[in-house]
Amino acid sequence: MTEGLQSARRGAIDPHLSIRHYDADADLMLLHFGPQHPSTHGVFRMDLYLDGEVIVKATPFLGYLHRGVEKLCEKLTYVQQTPVVDKNDYVSPMINEQALNMAFEKLLKLEVPRRARWLRTLLAELQRLASHLLWLGTFTLDLGGALGGGSTLFLHCFRERELILDLFEELTGSRFHYNTHTIGGNRHDLPAGLAAKVEVALAAIAARLGEYEDLSLGHAIFQARTKGVGTLDSDLALELGITGPILRASGVDHDLRRDAPYHAYDELTVNVATEHAGDCFARASVRFAEMRESIRLCRAVLEGLPEGPIAASKAVRLPTAVKIASGQVYVGIEGPRGEIGTFVIAGGDTPTTPYRLKIRAPSMHALAAIPYVMPGATLSDAVAILGSLDPIMGEVDR
C-alpha cells in the first residue's frame, strides 16, 4: 500500500498539496477522467491519481464549456439577457431566468403582480421536478450503465420529464429557450386548459415515483453503491459554499424558499427535507423527497392561482426599454441544485446595460467538494459521487 493511499484512507490527503508530497516516486497511476468521458456530465475533467482502483487524489479541471455568458450580459441590454442565461444551467432554464430578472426587478424596486409571482412559483417547481427527474436518470445511468438498468430508469425519467416539457411548450412555445420571464413579470399567461393538463401530468409523475424507487432508491444494489460513499460533512459543505440538496443531505436545514421567501413561497408552506448521512444515498433521498414536495407545491399553486395581470409594466418594444442608472444588488433563489444567484452592478457605459453581472452557480460550489470527497473512493465510486453532486457544466463554466 502506498503512502498516498494510506493517507487517503485516513482522510488525511490535503487537496492543496501537490501529489508529489504524498507520492514522491510517482508510483500512482494518473488517469485523466474526462473531458471526453461518458459520465462526466458534459465536458469536465478530473485528474485522478489511482492506487490500483482507489483514488488517492482528485483534481477537478473546469472551463471546457466556458462561453463568456457573464461578459456577454454586460454587452446586452437588460431586456435582451433573459434568453441568453437560459443556457447556463441547461437543465433548469426557468430558474436562471427568474434569478436574473428578479435581480433587475430588485434594482428597479419593481413590484411583480401577484399572479405573476404565483405563476413563477409554478414554473419554478415544475422546473425543479424536471431537473430532479433528469438528475435521477443520469445518476442511475452512471450507476447502471447505458447498456443496462441505468438506461431503463434514465428513459423512464425522461418520459416523465417530457410531460413537463410539454407543459412548458404549451405555455411558452418552447421546450428549452423559454424566455418567458421578463423584467416585472411574465411574458406568457397560462393558455386555457393548461391548469388541468398540469394536474394530469403531476398525477402521472406522482404515480411513477414509486416505480423509480423500485428501480433505484429502494433497490439493494443502489443502496450498496451509494450508502457511505462520498460522505461530505456539514462543516466542509458550508465552508465550500455548497447549497441545495447536497447541503441538506449533510444535515444543514437550509432552504431559501422557506428561509428567505420570494415568489409565492411566503404564502405557501415549504417542507424542507434533510438527511444527516451526507453520502450519495442521502443526497439521492433528499432529491426524491424534493420531487414529492414539488408536486405538492405545484398542486397548491394551481389551487390558489390568483387572477390579474402577469406583468408589472408595458411589454418591451425596444431594447432600451429598461434603464437602470446605478446601484448594485444580489438576489439568490433556491434552484434545483442550490442557491442560484445574480449579482448586478448597474451603470455601465449606458444605463441600459449592467456594468458587471456575476452569476453564482450552485454546481460550481458542488464541484469544489471533489478534492475532499474523492480520496479513498474507488473509480466506480467516483462516478457515483460525481453523479450525486449533479453538476451542470453549463452553469459551472458559464
Binding site: L31, H32, T40
Partner: protein, 120 residues
Amino acid sequence: MTAWLSALSFLVVSTLVGAGMLVAARILRVRARAAASELKTRTYECGEEPAGMAWMQFHARYYVVALFFVVFDVEAVFLFPWAVVLRELGVGAFIAAVGFVLVLMLGWLYALKKEALQWQ
C-alpha cells in the same frame, strides 16, 4: 478419442467463424487514404494526452484472488471423481469428502476472519 476429435473440429470451426469475419472485414472495410496520423492512433484517454503507459503495477490482492481460485479449483477437481462414484461407494466416501471440504472451509474461515477475502 473420437469425441475429442469431434471437439477439436468444433473448435476449429469456431475459429473459422472469427477468422472469416476478419477476412470479410479486410475485404469490406474502408481504408484511409493517408497514413494514420499520430492523433488517430493515439491511445484514448478521454481526449487528453495520455499520461504515461497503461502498463502499471497492480495490487497484490489480484494475486491472492488467483491463489484462492487455484486452491478451490484443486478442491473441486478432487471432488469431481468423488461426485461421479458417490452412488457406488456409500457413506464412507461421503464422510471422506465431508472431512476433505471441512478442512478447506477451515481455511476459508481463517481467510474470512483475517479479512484476506476483503477486496479492498
